[in-house]
């Protein structure tokens, strides 16, 4: 069904848009607080499962009745909930340990592992699939040029990804509260000296990153499936993308997301699916040794 160069290119572009969504939140949190948030994958997973909870009646948790909201309502609601979860993660745990990077690593990865168990407990180990496209609104697959049978949800994800990136760009360049985020990630002391409340900026960054993770998570779950271990692969992807792009650089992670997306799809198509992950890891190792600060990054400096 899908073969030839046009199909590879289109698929790569679609998957790269998703990768960009996954990576941006991760890089923002690192840029602002110097925190490697290993629970980022868990936030993506939360996006998929919260959406399932709101829009499908396949899983249910106590207190909260399972419901079947319209996707157009469930999607923004899921994004908001994940953003709040991300903020809570910062407010309840991370802000007490962020002075020590090792403890922060561990605390966030333990949160991710705990999240896996929460999902296992309430939703089981089964694979849940869902679509974001309401019945009858759009066809489930569409044709682009010579390539047919592309999942509509992936195309919608591509569009939403670029809308989010655009909004984020406007936020961090045109508004004071967004510019404060960028200033803090450039130099924390400088931001403090110009009157930026660094503490509030961190909290806000977690909120924004959480929202992006929520969007990414819902589309990730829709384009593949929701499982209790779905957080690990995107987390390692986010790692790879962020290091290649330069830790803390939003522009860098978008470029790197497309680089990795095209590389992986190309390798998967021409060398075999088993080698899909290996080449990007090799690329990462090369980047780490040759250009440790990444394509658009600065030297790690959070003493």
């Amino acid at each position: 069904m899908l073969s030839g160069l046009p199909a590879v290119l289109i698929n790569a572009a679609l998957i790269s848009a998703l990768y960009a969504l996954i990576a941006i939140g991760f890089t923002m949190i690192f840029g602002v607080g110097g925190v490697l948030n290993l629970a980022h994958g868990a936030l993506l997973m939360a996006g998929a499962y919260v959406y399932l909870l709101l829009a499908r009646d396949t899983i249910s948790v106590p207190v909260f009745e399972s419901m079947t909201l319209h996707p157009l309502l469930a999607f923004p609601l899921a994004v908001v909930i994940v953003a709040v979860l991300s903020y809570l993660l910062y407010a309840v745990i991370v802000q007490f340990v962020e002075d020590n990077p090792v403890v922060t690593f561990l605390a966030t990865i333990v949160v991710a592992l705990a999240a896996t168990e929460v999902v296992l407990h309430y939703a089981g180990s089964a694979t849940h699939t869902y679509t974001l496209i309401p019945d009858g609104m759009l066809p489930s697959t569409i044709d682009i040029g010579p390539v047919d049978g592309i999942l509509t949800v992936d195309v919608v994800g591509f569009v939403v990804s670029w809308i989010s990136i655009g909004l984020l760009w406007v936020y961090v360049t045109k508004t004071d509260s967004g510019r404060a985020i960028r200033a803090t990630s450039m130099t924390e002391r400088g931001a403090q000296l110009t009157g930026v409340n660094v503490h509030a900026v961190r909290a806000r960054t977690w909120l924004v990153a959480g929202a992006l993770a929520g969007i990414g998570g819902v589309f990730l779950g829709a384009s593949t499936s929701a499982t209790p271990n779905m957080w690990l692969h995107p987390l390692s992807l986010a790692f790879i993308i962020v290091v290649i792009g330069g830790i803390g650089s939003i522009k860098g992670s978008i470029v790197a997301a497309y680089l990795i997306g095209f590389l992986q799809t190309g390798v998967g198509e021409y060398l075999g699916q088993n080698f899909r992950g290996i080449l990007s890891l090799v690329l990462l190792v090369i980047v780490l040794f040759v250009l440790p600060q990444g394509l658009f990054g600065r030297e790690f400096d959070h003493e």
């Binding site: 007490f96 407990h121 088993n274």
Partner: protein, 362 residues
């Protein structure tokens, strides 16, 4: 938050001190004999600390005799805990001491495991542990060097990242060469040391105690001091005329030898090698979690942490909570609260408490 917790516990602590201080005084002469003879090599203790360590040692040495009184499975649990104690202590001598946190230690035990598996599967099925284990340890040592030499040029999170990449790469390679490694299913053609559970416990516990003694000895020596200094202030090491890179690499290699031993034991314990129980990233995380709940940078802490972790996971919580995912959730929340409230580890809290019962706090 921590201040109020401390003041709330103060009366309890005072009562404990009153009760324990005479005991400590009574035991001090025995501890002094130890301090004069071995204290210089393994660290000095007061009476109470000496008593606790001796009791702990005796308890580990006699698990098969007393464990049936608690539960039938306890000696299996502690055999597994011994293997993970080796992993956690090995991780600690490298990451806990130098502060260069490795996320990739499961690769080292995985290399040992897969060496044994591949030898038995593709070379000679009749090979015994006496030949496979040295080869396996050598393999993990070589891999340790291969990882350490380039990656220790990087600092902080970049070092952690590259070790993490090591794990991902290794896992991917296992799947990419499924023809050799059997991919997800793993290799099952390994015969165990023995089928007798209590003998099997000693096969795991004795190497663990030897590794512990060796690592404690090293950590209390000048080498250990240099490693700690690398963590606290790397420039101080250079200005003392020592090459920090050399020490960092040797600590990584030093840690890959016991990792290899532990990996080999795990093969002969579980009779199978597969990515899930050896290489995958969750194994590295579990190693770190164990070391951290015990107390990083102390060697004995991770040992204690491993027994505590597996006792909670396989025995205590299993009796209390039926549902398996809920049980694991509680375990991770426990690890999380140790991280937030006692980031130096449970063992260290107890140890310093014992050291301070007579008021002479360290």
């Amino acid at each position: 938050m921590k201040g109020t917790l401390r003041s709330a516990l103060l009366p309890v602590w005072n009562v404990l001190c009153m009760l324990l201080a005479p005991l400590d005084r009574a035991l001090q002469p025995i501890a002094n004999v130890y301090n004069r003879t071995l204290g210089g090599h393994f660290g000095e203790m007061n009476g109470l600390q000496f008593a606790v360590i001796s009791l702990g040692f005796a308890a580990i040495a006699t698990v098969p005799f007393w464990s049936p009184f608690y539960s039938e499975t306890l000696n299996i649990t502690f055999a597994v805990a011994s293997i993970w104690a080796i992993f956690a202590m090995s991780w600690d001598i490298q990451s806990g001491y130098t502060g260069y946190i490795s996320f990739g230690h499961s690769v080292l035990s995985g290399a040992a495991g897969y060496t044994i598996g591949l030898l038995i599967l593709h070379y000679d099925p009749s090979m015994g542990p006496a030949t496979t284990i040295p080869v396996a340890v050598l393999a993990s040592l070589v891999l340790g060097l291969v990882i350490a030499v380039p990656s220790l040029r990087l600092r902080g999170p970049y070092f952690s990242l590259i070790t993490l990449v090591g794990v991902l790469l290794f896992t991917n390679l296992i799947f990419a060469f499924s023809g050799w490694t059997n991919g997800e299913l793993g290799i099952h053609q390994v015969d165990p040391f023995t089928y007798e559970p209590w003998v099997r416990y000693y096969y795991m516990a004795i190497p663990m105690l030897l590794v512990a003694l060796g690592l404690i000895y090293i950590s209390r020596s000048n080498v250990g001091m240099v490693l700690v200094t690398i963590r606290e202030n790397e420039r101080a090491v250079s200005s003392a005329g020592l090459d920090p890179t050399k020490f960092k690499i040797s600590s990584f290699v030093l840690s890959s030898i016991p990792m290899g031993i532990g990996g080999a034991l795990l093969v002969y314990y579980g009779r199978a090698i597969n990515p899930t129980s050896f290489v995958e990233i969750s194994n590295s995380i579990e190693i770190i979690a164990i070391a951290v709940i015990g107390g990083m940078g102390s060697v004995v802490g991770p040992l204690f942490g491993s027994f505590l972790f597996f006792f909670l996971e396989e025995e205590f919580l299993r009796d209390v909570i039926g549902d398996s995912s809920l049980r694991t959730l509680v375990l991770w929340l426990f690890v999380l609260s140790v991280l937030v409230f006692a980031r130096n580890g449970v063992f260290r809290v107890i140890w310093h408490g014992l050291g301070a019962v007579r008021g002479d706090s360290e």
